[in-house]
């Protein structure tokens, strides 16, 4: 087990190294020029040359990459090219909690809704409700998150006026207001995830419900809810856990879009705003941080199999 974890860690390190080279090279290999982004229109060649020298753009690739990586490892991701030239790491530290909160809330909402939905569906497989749920989830999966977000804004904030749009209350300023403002964004994220989770969990539950131990539990006279929650859920959750890892990428993507739609001060708004203006250090830093989180989360998910399934715990991870 320990060896497996070590091997896994080494893999993560290699992947992150390649990603960091990739994000750094991305800027280097393309026509855009950071010096021009800083200077804007109307500069003299002398100013341009001086700035390139000052920013170290004339150094060889490896030297620049080395110094960038060196400071990145110490938590310094450089400064933004756009005035007021704020510190990249600070901006990310301020934006990250917002994104994380919305994404986690969306995920929790999706799980809370999809687990009972899938259970009902699987327990009454092929019934009328089951078929409606299956068709409904399939339909929801075909709605892109930005479209869903627009429709939700249209209905809940514009027509009904129940929720505000383009406002954000930080967690520190009161939990109630914070949750109130996070509800619609989280709902948008939760829609697609709910549909996906329900479909996957339903499939696994149907298989599990045909096992002998479920029959035994039913024969003992245990109520259906107890059988479903305490006996059937855990062995049915492997595909769901795998899917969590896969859908994390989509989750991050829809979080970005939702933040843009609702104008939340999160990573998505940060990265899209910077991408628009060609603010390379900001994009580099944000991509690196997101990749780091994404890779670590996936590794954690891999490890959680061992917790859920003793058979894997004994084998190598």
């Amino acid at each position: 087990m320990a060896r497996g974890v070590l091997k896994r860690l080494a893999e993560i390190a290699v992947v992150l190294f390649v990603v960091s080279v990739g994000t750094f090279a991305l800027v280097d290999l393309t026509p855009g020029d950071p010096a021009i982004t800083v200077l804007g229109e109307g500069h003299t060649p002398a100013e341009y040359a001086a700035l390139r020298e000052e920013m170290g753009l004339n150094d060889p690739f490896l030297v620049r990459y080395g110094s960038w990586l060196g400071s990145a490892l110490q938590g310094d991701l450089g400064a933004s090219l756009i005035p007021p030239n704020s510190d990249v790491a600070e901006r990310i530290a301020a934006a990250l909690p917002v994104s994380a909160e919305v994404a986690v809330l969306g995920l929790v909402m999706a799980l809370v809704v999809s687990v009972p939905l899938a259970m009902w569906s699987a327990y009454h497989a092929d019934g009328r409700v089951d078929r409606i749920i299956s068709a409904g989830t399939f339909g929801v999966l075909s709605v892109p998150s930005f479209l869903a977000g627009l429709l939700i804004i249209m209905v809940f904030s514009n027509q009904l006026g129940w929720f505000p749009r383009a406002e954000w209350v930080r967690l520190g300023e009161g939990l109630g207001g914070n949750l109130y403002h996070a509800f619609l964004p989280a709902l948008t994220i939760a829609l697609a995830e709910t549909a996906m989770f329900t479909r996957i969990l339903r499939g696994d539950l149907i298989t599990t419900l045909q096992e002998d131990f479920i029959l035994a539990a039913k024969a003992k006279g245990m109520p259906a809810a107890r059988v479903l929650f305490s006996d059937a859920l855990r062995p049915s959750s492997f595909s769901l856990i795998t899917l969590l890892g896969i859908s994390l990428g989509r989750l991050i993507g829809s979080t970005v879009i939702v933040e843009y739609l609702f104008a939340l001060p999160g990573m998505g708004t940060l990265i899209i705003g910077s991408a628009d203006k060609g603010d390379f250090p900001m994009v580099q830093g944000a991509v690196l941080v997101i990749a780091l989180i994404y890779v670590l989360a996936n590794a954690l998910i891999d490890l959680s199999y061992g917790y859920l399934d003793p058979r894997i715990r004994r084998a190598h991870v």
Partner: protein, 385 residues
Amino acid sequence: MSDIVESTGPAEGGSRPGDGADHLDHVRPRGVAGTAGRGSTGGRWGTARGPRPRHLSWSGLGLAVPGIALTAVSPTVLPAPGWVCFLAFAAGLAVAYAGVARLCRGAFGGSFDLMFWLCLVWLVVLVLAALLAPVLPLGEYRDIAKTIEAPAMAPPALFSEHPLGTNNFGLDLLARIVYGARASLLVSIGAVAIGMVVGGAIGILAGFFRRLTDTVVGVFTNSLLAVPPLILLIALGTVLEPNLRNIAIALSLLALPSMIRMARAGTLTFAQREFVLAAKAMGASRWRVMVRELLPNVLLPLASYGMVIVSVLIVAEASLSFLGLGIQPPDPSWGNMIAEGEGNAFQDHPHIVLVPGVTLFLTVFAFNLIGEKARKRWDPRQAKL
């Protein structure tokens, strides 16, 4: 509809006569409980009902006619507020669908899947419209100077000059939808093609040579997968000129890792098989083994996966264009058309968002449904995910 609603028995994904030979090593034991316990469930969808002579389903006719009538009447004639019209329209559509499905099951046999054919028709119409866009009698889609006379924000009216309405510059939405489909399909299918060719080649090489090649390719795919798809696109959008070619290349990076993995996995399995051994024994070169023996076997799952991922890529392109990093206005794309309706325009003129939105939804839905069917047919192992 049978493909939206997943089937019950665990035996479904296992083996199926016809393609069993290719998946011998993955055949699952048939779930006895699954088939015996729920023996009668298939009846609803026709297969277990047994052959029945073709007939005219009167109940189907009885549902279809009023359903179609309600669908046709509700958006135009009905004197009621918007919500009621919409609900009536939806109800009419559902009833008409149920009726037509019965009629078709009666006429073409019990296993007729109306939804599948509807999706196919939609995609064929879309592709044809996209291909023939320059010769179709469409309104102006791009040049604002030519539409000064045209009404701005005209609502959809089927038999007028602008069947789907116009946007705030008076550009015809139907024309923009068709040209948007052109861009969207071109970019997504192009990206899938690039992904299939490049990913398939890399995957086969990695699976065939193993050792160092495999390790390097593995690190490469893992690194590509380490950046969430949309973030990767945004990062690329920062530095690339947003034209169709670059967007297609950027999108192909999303399809690439899975293509590589599938091609590699397929190669690993097939390289052990007797026909490859036979080819080697007969003195076939490595090149020949890869191209003539492995490629045809690896290609089929890649192609069916391509069908599935097209819809993902269409959504990705639309999202990118919606964020302003993809196809740039005035060139239409479904994404940037939806973006036009952000803010107050949506409130006052819902059709600005709904027209491209519904088109996008229908297209993604059709690709998903057909992709699902293709995957169940050709790659039963993955039918569940």
